[in-house]
């Protein structure tokens, strides 16, 4: 006899129970984070209250990264992308409340997550967190599946839709310039110091210093300190972050749930191998029984 239907169902229920149980408990770091930022992590701090929306950072970004200006929105006259796209790794957007009483600029680019969902998605590790915790892209191991786009909670990584031989496009914190001892181009050109480059730990301290010095000026939170497991780009603003396109994702890293499910089912690849052995044994035994039955039938 093979597995009975009841046994099969029971196994399924047990497996799902185990899956649920593990999603409840995960080990945390000393500071409460599930995953710690690398010790050499660098990043940016963007202060929306200081930004004047001049967009010099956008021009500098395109120049530093050999990207053509996206002029599709202005009939070819000036750089005017509506969102991050295949020509735009960095953008300044304007938020205005419907009644026009409050407004804020907001800079968007890769957040360089402490635990990036794109890197968890990427099949061959084309997207990886490398030196300084920068999430980098290596086209040599990218098949163009775009699972990273499905995964990125900040809608950052983009695909070269217009090309027959496309790549993915995302901010890599100007790591080619960091190798030359310079920082990201956007931080270098910012005339007001709205975006600054540095070690994540230093930037975090600076952000908290500003919050403490001017509590009336800010929403009392450093976005990116804990959000989605923490990001290496940090934000200060005077308007609810969700309105600026930075939703409250809680402090769980995005890949945590799927990692727990997968690690439970596939830990050490024991379960699949055991299941294969069991299936092979059952199939072989059933076949032997069939052959015996056939031999008996054939006997006169």
């Amino acid at each position: 006899m093979g597995l009975s239907r009841r046994e099969a169902l029971k196994a399924m229920v047990v497996a799902s129970g185990a899956t649920l149980a593990t999603t409840l408990g995960s080990e945390r770091q000393a500071d409460g984070a599930l995953v710690a930022a690398p010790p050499d992590a660098v990043g940016m701090l963007y202060d929306a209250t200081v930004c004047t929306g001049c967009k010099a950072c956008m021009v500098a970004c395109n120049r530093a990264n050999d990207l053509p200006p996206d002029t599709t929105g202005s009939d070819g006259r000036w750089q005017m992308p509506v969102d991050l796209n295949q020509y735009t790794k960095n953008i300044i957007k304007l938020y205005q409340s419907p009644d026009r009483t409050e407004h804020s600029f907001i800079k968007r680019q890769c957040m360089h997550c402490v635990d990036p969902a794109c890197a968890a998605a990427c099949m061959l590790g084309a997207l990886q967190k490398r030196e300084y915790g920068i999430v980098t892209y290596d086209a040599d191991y990218c098949i163009g599946c775009r699972y990273c786009e499905m995964a990125c909670p900040f809608n950052v990584i983009k695909f070269e839709w217009a090309k027959a031989m496309p790549k993915m496009v995302k901010c890599e914190l100007c790591n080619h310039r960091i190798a030359e001892g310079k920082g990201p181009a956007c931080c270098e050109v910012c005339p007001t110091g709205a975006v600054i480059y540095g070690k994540r730990a230093d930037l975090l301290a600076e952000a908290h210093r500003r919050l403490a010095a001017h509590p009336d000026r800010y929403v009392p939170k450093v976005y990116g300190e804990h959000e989605a497991g923490g990001t290496q780009v940090l934000y200060l603003a005077h308007i609810d972050f969700a309105k600026l396109g930075l939703p409250d994702y809680g402090d769980r890293p995005i890949p945590e749930t799927v990692r727990e499910v997968q690690h439970t089912v596939y830990k050490g690849f024991v379960a699949p191998v055991a299941l294969y052995g069991l299936l092979a044994a059952v199939v072989l035994r059933n076949r032997k029984k069939d052959e015996r039955a056939e031999a008996e039938e054939d006997r006169p």
Binding site: M123, L124, C145, R146, V261, V282, D290
Partner: protein, 395 residues
């Protein structure tokens, strides 16, 4: 000989008018595929940075392989639960599965942006073991090969009856070898779908925060697994009913009714888990909010329930017409669930929208047409279908 009747080639004219028309659609699809590679995905599809996955992933890959679970579902029944009486269903189910999976594989090659690097997938030292998609890709590639190996006895048996001595010798030499090692592939053919069909559900767990809470649950892999087995049986019932209608076979009502009996508890468990999950996660109110997401969820649950009710009694299951309707409803329900998870529940932001364009639809339709033509040709030339032709009086 055993109680199973032996599969036989149907014979007859192969390139009938329907096969010609289907082949025409497939040919058009291949022209469009060539165009897609020439101009890129932006110019040829409606895909965009908000919805990077569209019809080809949601239908060809995710729904197509679930419909291709007939082989998996029947193999579970015959080889694991040892219900030998379903044996005649194995080969036709394997054919549908082999085509379904091959087309899913082809669709992936069309969908990915850099397919010329796909050869790097087996380079295990580059594997990101956290990537669910890697698991799906490797499993589906391997399983497609396994399916054709599982089907190879049909081709080798045909080779044995060839008039060309070399081909006859190939059949005579390899058939016993394949028969001996087949159980190892059958076991693999059950393990792999169990892994990747559940993993297809896990894929969207990574989109977690942007997935509508009605669908965003750690149970996604389990729900995908249960529903794919049910859809597999549904596909076998549909295929059995259609081949009795169009290929002049006597319908295997008794056997198909048996499948209906197996599907019933699966649907009950699936529906129970969905509702229980919504209750536990406190999403019942969202289910009855009567917005787009609530209506789509209710529609899915309604279709699954309808399929289950159509299969509730023995007399319902022995009515071939009713059985066919139940299977159709079930397959649509499973397809809708997959479309909902991959496209409707996925919310990249208000300013993004996606609806497949004509090219995407024609390529998908052409590939399905090619699959149908391939099935007809295969069952006419190779020993796939068992059972008897319909008596002449039935006309």
């Amino acid at each position: 000989m055993s109680a199973h009747s032996q599969p036989q080639p149907l014979g007859g004219v192969v390139f009938t008018r329907p096969v010609q028309i289907l082949t025409g659609f497939a040919a058009l699809a291949f022209v469009l595929i060539a165009w897609r590679f020439l101009v890129g995905l932006g110019a040829s599809t409606a895909l965009n940075d908000g919805y990077p996955w569209g019809l080809w992933i949601a239908f060809d890959v995710v729904t197509g392989t679930a419909l291709g679970c007939g082989g998996y579902a029947v193999a579970l029944l015959v080889y694991v639960l040892n219900r030998g009486r379903f044996h005649p269903l194995v080969r036709p189910a394997m054919v549908t599965s082999a085509f379904g999976y091959s087309i899913a594989g082809l669709s992936v090659v069309i969908d990915v942006g850099r397919p010329w690097l796909a050869w790097k997938l087996p380079l295990f030292w580059h594997w990101n073991l956290n990537s669910v998609l890697l698991e799906v890709a490797l499993c589906i590639m391997t399983y497609t090969v396994v399916l054709w190996i599982e089907l190879s006895p049909a081709f080798l048996e045909r080779a044995q009856t060839s008039t060309i001595p070399v081909i006859r010798r190939i059949g005579d030499t390899f058939l016993p070898v394949i028969r001996r090692i087949l159980p190892w592939f059958i076991a693999l053919g059950i393990l792999l779908p169990t892994m990747h069909q559940s993993a297809l559900g896990s894929l969207l767990l990574l989109s977690g925060p942007r997935l509508h809470p009605l669908w965003n649950t750690a149970l996604l892999p389990l729900l995908f697994l249960i529903s794919c087995v049910a859809m597999g049986y549904g596909a076998v019932v549909i295929e059995g009913a259609l081949s009795s209608l169009f290929l002049g076979r006597k319908p295997e009502t008794e056997m198909l009714a048996g499948l209906g009996r197996t599907v019933f508890p699966l649907l009950a468990v699936y529906l129970g888990l969905r509702l229980l999950d919504l209750v536990v996660r406190g999403q019942l109110a969202a289910l009855f909010a009567f917005n787009l997401h609530s209506v789509m969820s209710l529609l899915e649950l309604g279709l699954f329930t309808a399929a289950m009710l159509l299969l509730a009694s023995d007399s319902q299951r022995h009515d071939l017409g009713n059985l066919f309707r139940a299977a159709m409803v079930l397959v649509v329900a499973g397809a809708l669930y997959r479309f909902d998870v991959f496209l409707v529940a996925f919310r990249p932001g208000a300013h993004w929208s996606y609806f497949p364009n004509v090219t995407e639809i024609l390529i998908t339709a052409g590939l399905v047409a090619g699959e149908m033509a391939g099935y007809i040709v295969l069952v006419k030339v190779f020993p796939i279908l068992a059972g008897q032709p319909r008596p002449a009086t039935a006309h």
